[in-house]
């Protein structure tokens, strides 16, 4: 999965132009409600849970957001590797 491309699609609902990695979400015109909705869309699309409450994302740059999603995807993959073993041992 190309995280960056997927994220651009999701954010594209809110911001027309592609975001630079260093652009803060608030500077791109997103407000507190926008980022809560963005967090919801990300969680739905990537099937991950974001550790930050949505409103805190507003001070993130777009690059920060990409890294956060990638990190959560990696953590999910690690959990998936552990999970079958746990199931067998139970």
């Amino acid at each position: 999965m190309n995280v960056e491309r997927e994220l651009q699609t999701i954010i594209g609902n809110k911001v027309k132009d592609p975001l630079e990695a260093g652009t803060k979400l608030m500077d791109a015109g997103l407000d507190s409600l926008d980022v809560i909705e963005l967090a919801f869309d990300i969680e739905d699309r990537f099937k991950v849970q974001l550790p930050q409450i949505g409103a805190e994302l507003i001070s993130f740059t777009y690059g920060d957001l990409c890294r956060l999603v990638e990190k959560q995807l990696e953590a999910k993959a690690d959990d998936a590797l552990v999970a079958p073993a746990a199931t067998i041992s139970s």
């Binding site: 609902n13 809110k14 409600l33 926008d34 809560i36 909705e37 967090a39 919801f40 969680e43 949505g54």
Partner: protein, 409 residues
């Protein structure tokens, strides 16, 4: 007392995306009612099959061309309201006048709130078994969402609220808007109503009441089977006459009176006496004699109970048989638009008065002796100067509005 006039109108429904196409469809005797099958998203094993009058596919095109997606990120009932209001504001000539819009008020009706927003949340929770819902679920579903949406889109910063009285919501809203201007609290009020209830859960709710016709809404007809749901919105710009004249606005009609009563009796069975009392109250308010010929826009849902009771109310309110009234029942064309329907029918009544033509009652199979009314079964030329628009809602909430065209007595 200040005189209240209508200086702008707009509507969206199954009949059209604006009042021109709506009127053309009505005058041509076209109905928007058709067979529909509605399933929740991704749940084909669940379905509602029956009749409804869905809004035309281009209902929101004008709105979408003027505003960004982000500004229209609301439930459909709010965007229907915005589409009708955009047309009405442009029609009134106050569109683009930021100072006038800023001082204006909004009193806007709806019966059901954001049905799609509610159902999308329930689908996630109970069918998809997800443990969360979209973060805009509450702001999209709240009954005042449409009123707030209008305020934000159009920069209207005065008194702003929603009115909910089931199927009389927008009729009550127009009555309250009239009183608001009469009392000098605002020179311009944006009023009307909207609803978007053609969702699976809503349709099933109405079906469970056993009030739905399988094919067609046939007001006051023998063998009528019930109501058919529609959707959309209608907006009127009400204005203090002096204010309207000063800015050279076109005046469609005077909102001459409003009368409302409550049955205090039953959630779904109407009461003819209290409905007649609302008609009389509206006439008294408008200082219009009951014997003067009027165009009477009936609530006319097509259910056995409503139509029988309404015909009784009509006979009680208009005991003289020589008054030359003409009765129309346009739910046979646009369906029952719930919280929008009172405003839709008031807009149509005003158009009918100004065009001097009563659009025909559709789907009529033959007279019902219990509903002996002077129905316009074909387009009828009008010479009257006043229209009475009746809304009799579930819960026994009755609201009757009277419009007079200029030069009327």
């Amino acid at each position: 007392m200040r005189k209240v006039v209508v200086t702008g109108m707009g509507c969206v429904s199954g009949l059209g995306a604006n009042k021109t196409t709506t009127w053309d469809s009505l005058a041509a005797g076209k109905s928007a009612i058709r067979p529909v099958s509605v399933s929740p998203q991704g749940q084909r094993e669940l379905s509602f099959a029956g009749a409804a009058a869905p809004a035309v596919t281009d209902a929101l095109d004008n709105l979408a061309a003027r505003y960004e997606d982000k500004q229209l990120n609301v439930d459909l009932f709010s965007n229907f309201a915005a589409a009708a209001t955009l047309e009405a504001l442009e029609d009134s000539g106050v569109w683009g006048d930021a100072a006038k819009l800023s001082e204006a008020a909004i009193i806007y009706g709806n019966a059901s709130g954001g049905n799609a927003a509610i159902e999308a949340g329930y689908l996630r929770l109970f069918l998809s078994r997800l443990n969360n819902v979209h973060p805009l679920t509450i702001p999209r579903l709240m009954n005042s969402a449409a009123a707030s949406h209008l305020s934000m889109l159009f920069g209207i910063r005065g008194h702003c609220l929603a009115i909910a009285s089931a199927c009389a919501s927008s009729a009550h809203a127009i009555g309250e808007a009239m009183h608001f201007i009469r009392s000098g609290r605002s020179s311009i009020v944006i009023t009307g109503g909207s609803d978007a209830s053609l969702t699976f859960g809503s349709l099933q709710g109405w079906k469970a009441l056993q009030a739905m016709a399988p094919d067609m809404c046939r007001p006051f007809s023998i063998d009528r089977k019930g109501m058919v749901l529609g959707e959309g919105a209608a907006t009127l710009i009400l204005e203090d006459e002096e204010h309207a004249l000063k800015r050279g606005a076109r005046i469609y009609a005077e909102v001459a009176g409003a009368g409302s009563t409550s049955d205090a009796a039953h959630l779904t069975q109407p009461n003819a006496e209290r409905a007649a009392a609302a008609i009389r109250a509206a006439h008294a308010d408008a200082q219009l004699d009951e014997d003067a010929p009027v165009l009477f826009s009936a609530h006319g849902t097509g259910t056995r109970l409503n139509d029988r009771s309404e015909a009784s109310a009509f006979r009680l309110a208009y005991p003289s048989r020589s008054s030359g009234h003409v009765v129309i029942a346009t739910k046979s064309a646009h369906g029952h638009m719930l919280g929008a329907t009172g405003a839709m029918e008031f807009v149509i009544a005003i158009l009918a008065l100004t065009k001097k033509l009563a659009p025909p009652v559709l789907g009529f199979l033959g007279p019902d002796p219990e509903c002996d009314l002077p129905l316009a079964l074909e387009p009828v030329k009008l010479s009257c100067h006043a229209a009475v628009s009746a809304s009799f809602a579930f819960g026994g909430l009755n609201s009757v509005l009277i419009a007079k065209i200029p030069n009327s007595g």
